[in-house]
Symmetry: C2
Subunit: 415 residues, 2 copies
């Protein structure tokens, strides 16, 4: 299948220097893809803490089961990611594959298997032979510095239907010491579970205890990866993990063990911004994307209610096809507000497309201009804002349009 | 816009004789459409009882507000349906338009305005001038028998983006007297709120009190119109109403006033079958449809849970595009089960496409044949069945695939 690059593909990528405590390596296993790296191994220094957020799917993949079961102990020494096979819906064989990889990695890194974390993306329901991974992982670990790759190449090894590389970097200040956050992501479609699961990993040299890192990750995922949607479908494998090596301690930055530690402030902001950047990149590479939509709902009963209404708008096939057709069809926004199930009052509802108010107090705005609204819809990035007028809750989510490209990618081939 | 006829368009339509107590009439108002009837008026005998089920949208249309407010009194003398303008999100002007039509109809039929029921389908947010309707309605009512049309023509006057007429008829036996149920429907897409709202009306000569009729309608809507989805979007105007003239009393059939009256049995079955027929016709004319999908979920914790999982599968863009591509992609069914939020156990899950079991106990079926599964997907009607293995609840819903045709209809034009 020929994938057209997204029109939002960045022209250049941020520089990402080597990060103390992390040794990224990649290899071409040929598990499914040929002529490209499809295995990422990140070895980590002793003392690295870990946090994770995973798909809520009741049918999650074997590696997700593994990560959820073992992250509680808080320490990580290896991350192993493969592209081409999701190891999902693979029964007991799938679980034994993950264990085989973890055992092999533990021997190589001289750590507990429970300090090895895995993520897999690719075909669902296909048994995954762990030997591919263990063989190439051993070769990488034995190769020393010669096996190391930069973070761009690390990210590239995790891609499936992605049409561009997704990386971001940020920095923060703790105790007057600069720390770095590197993030990589893959995903193209909120998900297409047989090809395009969302995976993202954040690496930092900041010294932060696992429970604190977990609390920050759980907080900021709500306004980043949990605020995006491409097609409302949720992968069996979605995984977001953060690893903190603590290497910045060597530069005078003391360990942070409490969530209310004031020194966390710039780090928390940097993490939030980094996750938002990565999440938006996933949407901007949404399958078949031609428009990037920011959906803001204000005046809801609560922030949670606002988010549910925003997702109702963002997931509506009719709103998304209207965007694809450059149709300022605010009536479909009314429909999506109405069906969301949250408190709304038709006669208090206002809707803006960009700077233009199109609907106000339950009817078309008196100043509505079809020509101006249509002109606005020609933009590549479109802001849709709704005021429900029933409270103070607000939320923003991001999505893309629904195009012939999506149908072609997901329907016009036999996987 | 050129609408391709659905491949499921029936080759012929059931004969529908005149029905005692109802006088259907239609006219070409030219409100939006030209060269076709776009107004349906059904005058009804005194003593006709009424029941209705409406959209749950928080932003419902002015006619829905009117019908909900006045159906409690239980009696109906007129139904007025227009195509071309939905009178939705039209503020106080919309409410006054409905009142103007009801007042005019009440004068013509010598009844209370509260015995007049209205439904409108078409563009959203466009003020609807009631004079179009009142003028043509008066002409029809004054035309006597010369204004009468058959039920096929009555149904045709309510169509918008429908590519074929949707009618059904059934009969039942009460006190040894044959009674008739005629049903008409329009809708093409669960909804496209600016064009393709779902409206359906059932007319019967059976003598049934309004509360009993309401109870039957509310019960059977769950397994018919509330068990279909095209694109998960819910109209501001969806309306299903039933009218019982009681004319069969003249043939010796006594009034039914209790829901537990044993004489209701064949009527209840006939109503259920009629509503299912009409609901399936709406899906078979779903925007861009090429496949008709029956989704059955068994082994759920409850019937309600089964229905939520079935709708999660039926609304999944990835399941729907796979069907369009004739791809036996059972992994996407796993995904849709997993995201539904209902109790499921990956390792107890089984999935059948038609007669073939593709997945069993959390992994691909040992006897899985890609070739046979692909061959099955070439059928126009596809059955997907899932056993969750966690209880006794079951449900079936119907949907269509998601095709380039849907994108073209909803995205490739300026409405």
């Amino acid at each position: 299948m020929d994938l057209h690059p997204s029109p939002f593909a960045p022209e250049d990528f941020p520089q990402m220097d080597a990060l103390d405590g992390f040794r990224p390596m990649s290899a071409a296993m040929g598990m499914k893809y040929q002529g490209r790296d499809d295995l990422l191994v990140v070895a980590m220094d002793e003392g690295t803490s870990v946090a994770g957020v995973y798909t809520k799917s009741k049918c999650c993949s074997a590696p997700v089961d593994w990560c959820k079961a073992h992250q509680e102990q808080g320490a990580a020494r290896m991350l192993v990611v493969n592209a081409g096979n999701a190891n999902a819906f693979t029964g007991s064989y799938g679980a034994s594959s993950v264990k085989a990889v973890a055992d092999a990695a533990a021997k190589l890194a001289d750590c507990s298997p429970f300090e090895v974390f895995m993520a897999s993306t690719g075909v669902i329901g296909e048994p995954m032979d762990p030997d591919f991974i263990t063989m190439h992982m051993a070769r990488l670990m034995e190769g020393g510095a010669g096996s190391l790759v930069d973070w761009h190449k690390a990210a590239a090894a995790t891609m499936t239907t992605d049409t561009f590389l997704k990386v971001a970097t940020a920095s923060a200040d703790i105790d007057g010491v600069g720390v770095t956050l590197h993030g990589i992501a893959k995903g193209s479609g909120m998900i297409a579970p047989d090809m395009a699961t969302m995976l993202s990993f954040v690496f930092t040299d900041a010294p932060i205890d696992a429970p604190v890192l977990q609390a920050l990750l759980s907080r900021h995922v709500e306004t980043s990866f949990n605020a995006i949607t491409v097609d409302s479908d949720t992968s069996t494998s979605d995984t977001l993990m953060a690893f903190a090596s603590g290497a910045a301690k060597a530069r005078g930055c003391a360990q942070i063990s409490e969530l209310d530690d004031g020194r966390l402030e710039t780090f928390s902001e940097a993490l939030s911004a980094l996750l938002k950047d990565l999440a938006k990149l996933v949407v901007k590479d949404g399958e078949g994307v031609s428009k990037f939509l920011s959906i803001t709902v204000e005046g809801a009963q609560s922030d949670e209610a606002a988010k549910r209404v925003a997702l109702s708008i963002a997931n509506s096939p009719l709103v998304k096809t209207a965007a694809a057709g450059e149709d300022a069809n605010w009536g479909r926004v009314v429909m999506a507000v109405g069906k969301a199930g949250e408190m709304a009052d038709r006669d208090k509802l206002s809707i803006w497309f960009g700077p233009m108010r199109l609907a106000h107090e339950g009817q078309r705005d008196p100043d509505y201009s079809e020509a101006a609204a249509s002109e606005y819809m020609k933009n590549a990035e479109i802001d849709i804002r709704t005021d429900l007028g029933v409270g103070d809750g607000s939320a923003t989510v991001w999505t893309c349009d629904l195009t012939h490209g999506y149908i072609t990618i997901n329907g016009d081939y036999r996987s």
